[in-house]
């Protein structure tokens, strides 16, 4: 059985600090070219299939905007 990960990112409240991006070992995340309503470039997903669910992005987000869920694939 393999696993798939779902990242829920609240990008409307992201302040673009980039701490999740630089700490992701799989380069899953990047800064968007767009700006959110707070006026910041926000974090977005490049390729979720590379995510291993390690939680480093969750650990480093100072604003608690990342939630990680695990899905079992048959």
């Amino acid at each position: 059985m393999s696993k798939k990960y779902i990242l829920k990112i609240d990008s409307e409240h992201c302040k673009g600090c980039e701490l999740c991006i630089v700490n992701c070992p799989k380069r899953v995340l990047k800064l968007s070219e767009n700006i959110n309503k707070l006026g910041y470039r926000y974090v977005e997903i490049v390729d979720i299939s590379r995510c291993t669910g390690c939680g480093r992005c969750y650990l480093m987000c100072p604003d608690y905007l990342i939630e990680i869920y695990e899905e079992e694939l048959k």
Partner: protein
Amino acid sequence: MKATKFIKPKAIKELYHNYCPGCGHGIVHRLVAEVVDELNIRDKTIGIAPVGCAVFAYDYWNFDVSEAPHGRPPAVATGVKRVLPDRIVFTYQGDGDLAAIGTAEIIHAANRSENITVIFVNNTVYGMTSGQMAPTTILGQKTLTTPYGREIYKDGYPLKVCELLSVIEGTKYLARGAVTNPKNVALTKSYIKKAFVNQIENKGFSLVEILSMCPSGLHKSPVESIEWIENELVKYFPLGVIKDV
């Protein structure tokens, strides 16, 4: 089946805080909240918030929090813990709060070995008032009030709070962590947990110092602030457990 792996702790309220981008206070708040959840003590925890950027911590944590005048959280915590000894009482203080205006309070609370937990966020500057020199500013560090860098003969030496407190018999647990990378964040959480468990076991005064990012006060990006802490600051403030008796 969708299973939760990482979600924010219950001891953090469902709202957004006002810290600057990349500020370490947010991470430290979450670590305290995770420990409170894991120890299942949310109903009996009382936090004492400082003056400084964390002044609104009572709005962010989902348990009882009181406010104290600048530097006086250890005095307020002493009163609360003595009146309500079955509660888990902790202070949350910046380096301006704890190591400058509150030096007398922290030393005497430690010396009395008050059975409280102290979370001491060392970001080397007075963040809230725009980044003036703090007692913890390192030599050569440029701040608003040391524009050419901190100098020994004008400004004195940076204060090592954990080392200073370590010679006081009343201190039972002293550790210094950092919130600069996932490994340090996990280690810091283990120090915070130990400092809360000590109180539950009535061991006496426990303090965890945390090297933290103040990108606005340091005039660096969040990532540059982390590099500076990991490359420069830890040389003067080494990480690890300093005392555990």
